[in-house]
């Protein structure tokens, strides 16, 4: 394993694969904060050069967090297809990049090698990729999943309608939901973040959305994004749950802080299969984000991007219906600028897809970051071109409960029309029946929440 590189007249020597992985990253404030980022532009390139020459076997043999010490590492290694890994282990990371981008390599081919790649290998190759590389590579991969409806159908772009309310007021939530549906948002899921994390609130919101879906015959899935254990209690008490949600991270220590473990997730998945309301087989919804391990002081000296890949490695065993990042939500100490968050969104989309996950993106930002609406719209369009399965849908782009900005109902409709993408097939039929959409475009009647108030 060669850990030394020469960039013109300068020689850079690295101590470990972990150090190379961190220093090969594009600039992000979280890596700087932890003190593991490259100290100069030349050192960054040197790290990329070293990484490009390492084999997949080198990466396999040097996990950034030991197998014995971390449940996430164990999930990644135990879930690996060894036969496929054996076939490709002599590839260098540089070769893997070219293989991914090669015209002869199809999405099917990538889905196949995906099973022989550890999360660290996937992170490594993404570190060698530019913006357009990431878009090009991501676009090849199309991952479909099925809960009540099918997500990821070619030519479609779906949205999570996110009608959050600052006091969990059911009528207020419904008002935002109606507005979202009237713009064609909500085919991925109707997913609410509750303020109060308790069984009563969660059940009330789940019941309300489920009844609304039944009354208006809306082909989608419901979800309330409380802690997984709260949702499990609600299911046990008979609440109608299509998708079980949980935020997860890339180290066992961070997952401990989230109050989640493989045992809990196993139990939740089993419960959704036995007592959930959805068709399946995909019944889980995960949110992730670069920097969560840093903000929880649970990074163990590993860079944010590699930890994000590990999070996807942890997720894939549960065959989720949907997974999305919220990298722009964590804060300026991990991702500072519009440029950093756009890069993170593209990395996450690519790494998630190469893990075989039905990936969506929340191209979001907070008010204490150096990012604005223009950055967010650029990120959204790039990720849509890269074939993100879904985005969020927030009224006017302003989440009045979580106090951050994400894709608006307007952005949802705009992105579809700009790129000629359609809603999920069943949902498109429903939108046409409701007179909201015609030939893939909003009708005159669209955007009016009162069409649900006859």
């Amino acid at each position: 394993m060669i850990l030394k590189a020469k960039v013109y007249n300068k020689i850079f020597a690295f101590q470990s694969l972990k150090e190379v992985m961190a220093k090969a990253n594009e600039e992000k404030s979280g890596d700087e904060l932890v003190g593991i980022a490259a100290k100069s532009a030349s050192e960054r390139v040197a790290a990329k050069l070293v990484l490009s020459n390492l084999t997949l076997e080198d990466i396999y043999n040097n996990p950034v967090i030991p197998y014995e010490e971390d449940e996430v590492t164990r999930a990644i290694y135990d879930g690996l297809n060894l036969r496929i890994y054996q076939e490709i282990k002599s590839w260098t990371v540089g070769y893997l990049r070219e293989y991914i981008l090669d015209h002869k390599t199809t999405g099917e081919d990538l889905a196949h090698i995906s099973r022989g790649l550890t999360s660290e290998m996937i992170a490594a190759v993404a570190k060698l990729m530019s913006t357009m590389d990431l878009v090009f590579g991501s676009k090849k991969m199309r991952v479909q999943s099925h809960c009540n409806t099918t997500l990821g159908v070619p030519g479609t772009l779906a949205f999570r309608c996110q009608p959050n309310h600052p006091t969990d007021n059911v009528e207020g939530m419904l008002a935002s939901l109606k507005e979202g549906l009237a713009y064609g948002s909500g085919d991925a899921v109707i997913g609410i973040n509750p303020v109060e994390d308790n069984v009563e609130t969660v059940t009330r919101l789940l019941d309300t959305v489920k009844n609304f879906m039944l009354k208006w015959e809306i082909p989608t899935q419901n979800c309330v994004l409380a802690h997984v254990t709260t949702q499990m209690k609600a299911i046990e008490k008979g609440a109608p749950v299509d998708l079980v949600f949980q935020s997860i991270a890339g180290t066992q220590k961070a997952n401990d802080a989230f109050g989640v473990s493989a045992a809990i997730l196993d139990e939740a998945f089993a419960l959704a299969q036995r007592k959930g309301t959805a068709t399946g087989p995909n019944l889980m919804y995960f949110e992730t984000g670069q920097g969560s391990e840093v903000s929880l002081d649970a990074h163990l000296g590993v860079d944010m991007m590699t930890l994000e890949a590990r999070t996807y490695g942890y997720a894939r065993g549960y065959r989720p219906f949907m997974t999305n990042n919220v990298s722009g939500f964590i804060g300026p100490e991990t991702i500072y600028s519009g440029r950093e968050v756009i890069r993170a969104d593209l990395e996450d989309l690519f790494m998630g897809k190469l893990h075989g996950l039905p990936m969506g993106i929340a191209p979001c930002y907070t008010n204490h970051m150096k990012a604005d609406q223009n950055d967010q719209e650029m990120g959204t369009l790039l990720c849509a071109m890269a074939g993100s399965n879904f985005f969020m849908g927030v009224p006017g782009g302003d989440d009045v409960m979580l106090s951050y900005q994400d894709t608006s109902y307007h952005d949802d409709a705009s992105t579809r029309e700009i790129l000629g993408l359609r809603p999920l097939p069943e949902f498109e039929k429903w939108l046409e029946k409701m007179g909201i959409l015609e030939n893939g475009k909003l009708t005159e009647r669209a955007g009016d929440p009162s069409i649900f108030d006859k």
Partner: protein, 302 residues
């Protein structure tokens, strides 16, 4: 002559008068006579000095053209602060929705990135020191630096602050300079007055630039006060950038954790009004002094 009863009519009469006067067809006396007859009680100001300005329409205004049920949309808008019933131009927001969003975000960003003004600190008679974070960029990216004073600040605080008082008050910009300038002028005098009336010995309040909540632990270690309270700007939302929090702790040390702090948040004119907050905080500080504990430990004693 009939009384000119609208602005347009007044403008027409005035321009005709001026044209006639220019051409020498009307004496000043004649002009005055006509103006008086037209009952133009206020002289007209030229447009360039107009008080007119462009403002946003009221937020509650329904923006959908030809809604199916306008009353239902209006009712919905009352149920949530979310941006609904805002209509569209094609698939995009209407111009006013776009500009209002930009304005709200701009106010939030200014609160985070602009400093509390020197003039304000002088008017409030506040001594100013800085955390170890030298710029806003560094402050936002390095939370650790905002949690301690700069070396220079340590020197100033050691030399100038009274030691061993019962209460030390800090004003900390945190994530909103706007919250400081909006609330401190009412909050600080109310709090000082309240503590004084209760017979509590208070050190001179001072300001910490680029500070985070934990900087109070560092200050307490120097001034050795019983209670230290930080009045700190909260992270602004698009709704308001003026919200302020008060963090109080009884004798912090190396083993202090977050749960040891008592927090009162949402202090602003739309939440807990600043003058009221002053009285409320006085009560809380008295409780902390009596219990010799804050945060969860204080609640357990209640």
């Amino acid at each position: 002559m009939a009384v000119a009863n609208n602005e347009l009519e007044k403008v027409i009469i005035q321009s005709v008068m001026e044209e006639l006067a220019k051409k020498g067809l009307l004496s000043q006396k004649g002009k005055d006579h006509v103006m008086a007859a037209a009952m133009m009680d206020t002289p007209l100001v030229p447009n360039t000095e107009s008080e007119e300005m462009v403002t946003f329409p009221p937020q509650e205004e329904m923006q959908i053209s030809n809604p199916f049920n306008a009353d239902a949309v209006k009712a919905m808008k009352k149920l949530t602060p979310a941006r609904i019933g805002i209509g569209r131009a094609g698939t995009r927001p209407k111009t006013m929705s776009l500009l209002r969003f930009l304005a709200d975000h701009a106010v939030a960003q200014d609160a985070v990135f602009l400093d509390v003004s020197e003039g304000f600190l002088q008017r409030m008679n506040l001594m100013s020191v800085q955390s170890a974070a030298v710029s806003k960029d560094e402050f936002l990216q390095r939370p650790d630096l905002g949690r301690r004073l700069s070396e220079e600040a340590v020197k100033i605080v050691s030399e100038k602050c009274e030691k061993n008082v019962q209460v030390q008050i800090l004003i900390v910009d945190g994530l909103s300079s706007t919250a400081i300038e909006a609330n401190i002028p009412d909050l600080l005098p109310a709090l000082m007055q309240g503590l004084k009336s209760a017979g509590i010995k208070v050190g001179a309040p001072f300001f910490v630039k680029n500070g985070r909540v934990w900087v109070q632990d560092h200050v307490a270690s120097i001034v050795n006060s019983e209670v230290i309270i930080s009045l700190i700007g909260e992270r602004p939302g698009l709704g308001t950038a003026e919200s302020l929090s008060a963090y109080m702790i009884y004798r912090p040390n190396e083993t202090t954790v977050e749960a040891d702090r008592t927090v009162i948040s949402n202090i602003h004119k739309g939440g807990i009004p600043p003058a009221e907050a002053g009285a409320h905080l006085t009560d809380v500080i008295q409780q902390i002094l009596a219990a010799k504990a804050s945060g969860v430990k204080l609640n357990q004693q209640k």
